[in-house]
């Protein structure tokens, strides 16, 4: 039914387009000159009927589910549904829906079958009503736009206004997305803080969300303290930067100042490949190759290494960040005016001296900005740590040990079935909120540094 509605919409819009153009041609044949080209009159008809009806269809599809469920729930026998908790209500609703789809397990109660029938009926009704609404509204708008065709009508202005409006809407989506992120995170996080106190979350040193939380356990001490989780994140980030910063920095300096052209032509694409590899691949690489290698090496020199050591996850994340750091360093080095380095060389400095005493110090702000962005990437990186880091939060700084990260906890808490009323799920949103805030602050700071100093040399 939905596809028929869309087809009808397309048909009506195109008919409107053609109809207006024919009307314009008739006017032109009558010897009048029009303000706008025929094409604009056609486009006007198309847009005027297409956009509002399209929005109506989308809203209808989004809203019909919740509304129908609400009607069905309202019609259920008293006492069977309204007394239940959210999770149980969802279960009942899911059962009714599956009966409506025809998959019946066991012997459902009479009222559930009745509800399922009503659900099916309402959906049929809704989709028919939608089709009627689409056709009626579309035709109405089509006639409206047809009635406007005349020699004086400024169809081009009309079309341009509509297109401008569409573009403004597109541009503001970014703002809406940000608002959506903040609102959804904030909403769930506030629900979380109803159950767990803020100070406990921020300063608790115990993170054990996997323990099933009974009523009397919610207040149990420190089950939701995020400190060990963020500490683990920082340990892995530190390991990653320990590898990525020197390697990325040195390779960018070498490529920029010393490398022969042919080497550069090979290495730059190679770095781009490294940057384009999806993180799930790095995660598998960490599990398959790096972690066993580190463990074997540890066993050889007599050090006990945890199977999912922070070194493996952090090391592989470091490899992932090499191209990131190197490209930012590259940008920063190129932004330093040639006159500075030429001056240094002219005074007799060797290339190395020029790099270390003139070029590098001048590029430091840009590089720092890039490193900060890399930190934010490392903190927010998910797949590598989900696959290669541990699950248990420990207060440790030892990179040989297994640690967990904010993103790992978010994913493990939310994988599988989720309902929005238990603290486990909500804890993930609280962690997501913290992750968002931390990365946002670092990003804003980094972008500002990069921009400020890039402009300084322009």
């Amino acid at each position: 039914m939905t596809s028929i509605a869309f087809l009808a919409l397309f048909a009506i819009s195109i008919i409107g387009y053609v109809w207006n153009i024919t009307a314009v041609n008739a006017i032109r044949k009558g010897g009048n000159r029009l303000h706008s080209l025929g094409y604009f009159h056609g486009m006007y008809a198309f847009l005027v009927s297409f956009i509002p009806v399209f929005v109506v269809i989308l809203l209808w599809l989004l809203l019909q589910g919740p509304v129908i469920e609400w009607i069905v729930a309202g019609g259920l026998p008293a006492g069977e549904y309204d007394g239940l908790g959210t999770g149980e209500q969802q279960l009942v609703m899911a059962e009714i829906k599956s009966i409506a789809r025809g998959t019946i397990f066991g012997e459902p109660e009479e009222w559930k079958i009745a509800a399922a029938e009503r659900l099916t009926r309402l959906y049929t009704l809704s989709s028919r009503a939608m089709l009627i609404a689409v056709v009626a509204l579309g035709l109405g708008l089509m006639f409206l736009s047809r009635s406007k065709v005349s020699a004086e009508f400024r169809a081009r202005h009309g079309v341009e206004h509509i297109v401008s409006g569409l573009m403004i809407f597109c541009a503001t989506t970014a703002v809406f997305v940000t608002i959506g992120i903040v609102a959804s995170l904030l909403f769930e996080t506030l629900k979380f803080f109803d159950k767990v106190s803020v100070s406990e979350f921020l300063f608790g040193t115990n993170w054990e969300p996997q323990i099933p939380l009974r009523e009397d356990q919610v207040a149990a001490e420190g089950a939701f303290g995020w400190l060990p989780v963020i500490l683990g994140t920082l340990v892995i980030t530190a390991v990653a930067l320990f590898i990525a910063v020197p390697v990325g920095l040195m390779s960018a300096i070498y490529l920029n100042e010393f490398a022969p052209c042919r080497l550069r032509a090979v290495v730059k694409p190679a770095l781009e490949i490294l940057a384009g590899v999806p993180t799930v691949v790095y995660g598998f690489f960490a599990v398959l190759t790096v972690a066993p290698a580190i463990r074997a090496f540890g066993a050889q020199i007599g050090i006990d290494v945890a199977p999912n050591t922070a070194l493996a996850a952090g090391g592989v994340m470091g490899i992932m960040l090499i191209p990131f750091i190197s490209s930012f360093t590259d940008d920063a080095l190129s932004a330093v005016p040639r006159t500075l380095s030429d001056g240094a060389l002219g005074l007799g400095a060797t290339r190395a001296e020029m790099v270390t005493t003139v070029l590098f110090p001048a590029a430091i702000p840009g590089i720092v900005g890039g490193v900060l962005l890399a930190v934010s990437r490392a903190i927010g990186e998910t797949m590598i740590v989900v696959m290669a880091a541990g699950l248990i939060a420990k207060m440790t700084l030892n990179p040989l040990d297994s640690v967990t990260t904010v993103t790992v906890q978010i994913v493990t808490l939310l994988i599988g079935d989720t309902s929005f009323d238990n603290p486990k799920t909500l804890a993930a949103f609280a962690l997501g909120m913290m992750l968002f805030i931390v990365t946002l602050i670092i990003n804003i700071f980094a972008i500002r540094i990069v921009r400020k100093y890039r402009e300084a040399y322009d």
């Binding site: 541009a171 390697v247 040195m250 070498y254 691949v281 270390t356 934010s376």
Partner: protein, 431 residues
């Protein structure tokens, strides 16, 4: 005076000192260059190890060991009126017993050890054949089916025969049977097309990527359908029409920040808004595509703006000069010239979206689904989440399949980036 007399020897002394100092300075340069070369070699080495470890494990999944047997479809076991039920397993067992007559009287346990050669899907393959053509009942059919994972690994030498019996998943007897079958030419190792044409399965020998490929396709399609028009619209507005005011600044800052928000946060957004508030179905490529669209949009906006910026002002001025409106200038002249850059940016953005995993995990696209989705509303997995599922599976056979799946994913990425580079080189203009 003293200077004059001292000068020859003094000059020599400073000369030597200078030379030493120069040597030292040059040494520093060599060290710096060495460090740089070392860094590059490290990165190159890591790339090499990454690719090598994937290829060296993944190539094993290129072929799949198959067993060809003559199966007598016994009417006593399988009758027309009971289809699709029937004793398919027994019929298959009988086919193997025919090869090893001494097993005819063997107990259930021994028999199971023997029929363990078959993949679990063999009976279903036979069932589908007979359901499609019931006339086969009572005849002997030649059936080529995958062998089960341990035997596949035995064939590929991943299970070593030297390993003590207790430590491998096939015992000496099974190896002997398998070798006999191989001697009789019943074991073959054809190209493993099942990897691309099968959907997911619990059994490595049957598991394939079809569901994931189709799921990824739907998700990317939705992602493209949303992010491409919205991204271009936003970019055109910001670059060509937006007044320099507070609102435009806010939008700009927002887009730049969105590009750097961790992907898992987009997953949380999708979980709370698309699934929680709007009630869209879990695990659906539609939701996955919408989530990916939010992440791809900043990339498209940024690259489209760069492409628009690269069109020289003379084009705009010329069009304005002959009386075009600002909209006509943009849509008739600037945008077509910027299109190659826009397409390049879009393809690169889609390539990123194809590799994105974390947000898809949160909306449930890591479900275990044994059929390919027919519409974007069906439950599905995507390529990267399928890789994640397989990487998490305990069966040894999934290791090589995971690597192979990664190679498939990387293949797609290389292809998309290749197209982007081709477009850039072919249509890029310098003004």
């Amino acid at each position: 005076m003293t200077d004059m007399t001292a000068s020859p020897s003094g000059a020599l002394a400073t000369d030597a000192r200078l030379r030493a100092r120069l040597r030292q300075r040059k040494r520093k340069q060599v060290i710096l260059q060495g460090l740089g070369l070392g860094a590059i070699s490290f990165a190159g080495l890591m790339l090499f190890i990454l690719v090598a470890s994937l290829v060296s494990t993944g190539y094993k999944a290129v072929t799949q060991t198959h067993l060809t047997v003559e199966v007598f479809v016994d009417p006593q076991e399988i009758s027309v009126d009971k289809l699709p039920r029937g004793g398919f397993r027994d019929v298959l067992a009988a086919a193997l017993i025919k090869e090893f007559p001494d097993m005819a009287e063997a107990g259930r346990k021994d028999l199971r050890a023997l029929t363990g050669v078959y993949s679990n899907g063999a009976q279903f393959r036979l069932r589908d054949m007979i359901v499609a053509d019931p006339g086969l009942i009572g005849q002997t059919v030649t059936l080529t089916v995958p062998v089960s994972d341990p035997f596949d690994q035995l064939q590929k030498d991943l299970i070593k025969r030297e390993t003590p019996q207790a430590q491998r998943r096939v015992d000496d007897r099974q190896i002997a049977w398998f070798d006999t079958l191989a001697e009789r030419g019943m074991i073959s190792e054809p190209i493993n097309w099942g990897l691309l044409t099968n959907a997911d399965s619990r059994f490595p020998e049957l598991a394939g990527l079809k569901g994931a490929l189709v799921g990824s396709f739907w998700a990317l399609l939705v992602c493209f359908a949303i992010s491409f028009p919205v991204g271009i619209g936003a970019a055109i507005y910001l670059e060509e029409f937006a007044p320099k005011n507070r609102m435009s600044d806010i939008i700009e800052v927002n887009i730049n920040n969105l590009a750097a928000v961790p992907s898992v946060v987009f997953g949380l957004l999708a979980l709370a808004v698309f699934l929680g508030w709007f009630g869209l179905p879990r695990s659906a490529p539609l939701v996955g595509g919408m989530t990916l669209a939010l992440m791809t949009m900043p990339t498209i906006i940024i690259s489209t703006r760069a492409a628009l910026k690269a069109v020289p002002p003379s084009i705009r001025e010329a069009a304005l000069g002959v009386g075009a409106s600002r909209h006509q200038v943009v849509f008739g002249h600037v945008l077509p010239l910027a299109m190659p850059g826009v397409m390049t940016g879009t393809i690169i953005g889609l390539a990123q979206a194809l590799g994105e995993t974390a947000p898809l995990l949160l909306i449930g696209m890591n479900a275990f689904i044994t059929s390919a989705p027919g519409t974007p509303l069906d439950s599905a997995t995507a390529l990267p989440t399928q890789i994640f599922i397989w990487a998490d599976s305990p069966e040894r056979g999934f290791v090589s399949r995971t690597s192979a799946a990664i190679l498939v994913l990387l293949g797609f990425l290389v292809m998309m980036n290749g197209i982007a580079i081709y477009l850039r080189n072919k249509f890029e203009r310098s003004w």
